[in-house]
């Protein structure tokens, strides 16, 4: 019995054969008991399926259908997010490929990574292991060559181009006239783009020497504070430092401490705050003519040199107070201060000096003192509530 007959047997059961095929099947059925049994088996299967009972609609089916219909009206006909289901295998394949690429790239050795690729790299790259690498690289020769190049006069065509074009076009003109040095020098000499004078090269060292470190050296002065080597930098720093010291003397500032100086930095264990002292002649100096200032300034300087320095130290322990007291050469014991809730402000000044008043300002503690008239040395100590504000010492009016 072949499949063709069997397939026709199924159609025969349904009455779906042509007359000729039906007759052919009936002939076969009359000849073969197996085929007849096959037909009966198919019929029984068909009857079994046909015998499945019809079901009634569940209770409330139509009501639920109506409410669902109302709910879904206006809702976009889409039951997926981001990607339709048919695109998900593609997305999965792409993401897998990306992961595989990353893994492959991570697993390549340095030799594979830097190996020359035919048609891509024009030169071979030598790959050395860490053991073959030099311990240090001497680039002093390159730096010396750079310094020599910087000291040499600028290229004439570059300077000419700079003078010929306007200020806005100067940078572009420089680029056209000379070859670019971008990225070739670690600390190439030059000037900021905002300079005003059309100078094509850095100023000569002589010009630097002629400049006062305290005068305005901003963008309009040609950038003279730009040092070209270590020697020039040191010279500029020295001039700045001298000028700064002179300015401090003129303002009567003896010493300015860093605000973050810790207590342990002082031998007394205390903390030295900003010590300011205005000279009595300062106001008159401002009003006097330049010619009259010289003797006044000389007198003030002499008086300042003669005057003993006055400092105030904020102390936060009894030992520190005792040490400061002894260091000042004072007899007896310092007055008692309730550490650590309190701190002691100790005045280190000439004999007879003492604290008149301590004013608590918003940002400072101002210690007003007098440099004479106090016979009791305990006047040098003032107990205050512990504070972290800087202490400013001023001569009481």
């Amino acid at each position: 019995m072949n499949d063709d007959i069997r397939e026709k047997l199924s159609a025969y059961l349904d009455g779906a054969l042509s007359d000729a095929d039906r007759r052919a099947v009936e002939v076969e059925l009359s000849r073969s008991e197996d085929l007849t049994r096959e037909l009966e088996a198919l019929r029984s299967v068909s009857n079994a399926v046909k015998g499945l009972p019809k079901e009634k609609l569940p209770d409330g089916f139509l009501a639920r259908l109506e409410s669902r219909r109302a709910r879904e009206e206006g809702k976009p006909a889409r039951d997926y997010y981001i990607l339709p289901p048919t695109y998900r295998p593609l997305a999965f394949a792409l993401s897998t490929a990306v992961v595989a690429l990353v893994v492959w790239d991570k697993t390549r050795t340095p030799e594979e990574l830097y190996a020359p690729r035919p048609g891509w790299d024009s030169e071979k790259v030598a790959v050395r292991s860490a053991a073959e690498a030099p311990a240090s690289v001497d680039i002093s020769g390159q730096i010396a060559a750079m310094d020599q190049k910087a000291a040499a006069p600028a290229q004439p065509e570059a300077a000419e181009a700079f003078n010929r074009v306007g200020k806005k076009e100067s940078v572009g003109a420089m680029k056209l006239a000379g070859s670019s040095t971008f990225g070739k020098h670690i600390s190439a000499p030059g000037q900021p783009l905002g300079f005003s004078e059309p100078v094509a090269s850095a100023p000569a060292p002589a010009a630097l020497d002629a400049m006062d470190g305290l005068q305005g050296n901003g963008a309009g002065s040609g950038g003279s504070t730009i040092a070209r080597n270590e020697e020039e930098r040191s010279a500029i720093n020295e001039r700045l430092y001298k000028g700064f010291e002179e300015e401090k003397k003129r303002m009567g500032i003896a010493r300015i401490m860093d605000k973050d100086v810790e207590d342990k930095n002082l031998p007394t264990g205390g903390r030295e705050m900003m010590t300011l002292q205005a000279t009595p002649d300062a106001a008159r100096l401002d009003d006097a003519s330049p010619a009259a200032k010289a003797p006044l300034r000389a007198k003030a300087k002499a008086a300042k040199r003669a005057a003993a320095p006055v400092k105030a130290i904020a102390l936060k322990s009894a030992d520190a107070l005792q040490a400061a007291w002894a260091a000042a050469g004072l007899a007896g014991d310092p007055p008692s201060v309730e550490f650590p809730g309190q701190m002691a402000v100790f005045l280190a000044g000439p004999a007879g000096s003492g604290i008149v008043e301590v004013q608590e300002r918003k940002r400072f503690l101002v210690v007003l003192y007098k440099d004479s008239g106090f016979s009791d040395p305990s006047a040098r100590v003032k107990a205050l509530a512990a504070s972290v504000k800087p202490v400013v010492v001023k001569l009481a009016p």
């Binding site: 159609a11 198919l42 015998g51 089916f61 139509l62 639920r64 259908l65 999965f92």
Partner: protein, 177 residues
């Protein structure tokens, strides 16, 4: 035809078809409502080129096929995720068809004996074969109508119906033994 008349005529037919296709009432109701909502939206465009019942069956079959396809896709991702995570499936049933939370129809019909066995065997056929058997045996559609509903040539319907019946016979024999 008004929507009300349409629902009164077709709802039960669609529900029974869905019931035989899905095998449980919960999924059957969901599928039937989906199909009927689509049919209601498309009803104004129905020109009467075919019988209304054939048209509705076609919509129901397409809705069910879409669901089966989506479930197959979900089953694929589920297989992938289980494979990657090393987990195990929670059952050994085929995972490519919707499964409602209520008991399978064959369990509900257990008292009815043969019907339960037949329904269980029916659910073991693949989707297309099951659709052909249901349309032929239960809905008593001609080969031509079945071909129109499923988009298959009549010859294909004929051969697949034969194979489905043979497989059903094997399954029923196995169940009875």
């Amino acid at each position: 035809m008004s929507e009300q008349d349409f629902l009164e005529q077709q709802s039960e037919l669609v529900f029974n078809l869905a019931l035989r296709l899905t095998g449980n009432r919960s999924d059957a109701e969901d599928l039937a409502q989906d199909a009927l909502l689509r049919a209601l939206r498309a009803l104004p465009k129905f020109r009467g080129d075919s019988k209304l019942s054939t048209w509705v069956y076609t919509i129901t079959m397409n809705t069910w096929k879409n669901r089966v396809r989506a479930e197959k896709s979900r089953g694929f991702w589920k297989t992938i995720s289980f494979g990657v995570l090393g987990g195990e499936k929670d059952d050994d049933k085929p995972d490519f068809e919707p499964k409602g939370e209520d008991a399978p129809l064959d369990q509900n019909l257990e008292k009815e004996g043969t019907a339960a066995v037949v329904q269980k065997a029916l659910l073991q056929l693949d989707a297309d074969d099951r659709a052909i058997v249901v349309l032929r045996e239960i809905e008593e559609r001609s080969y031509g109508e079945i071909g129109a509903v499923l988009g298959l040539p009549e010859g294909t319907v004929k051969s697949r119906l034969f194979r489905a019946r043979a497989k059903l016979k094997t399954l029923l024999d196995k169940a009875s033994s």
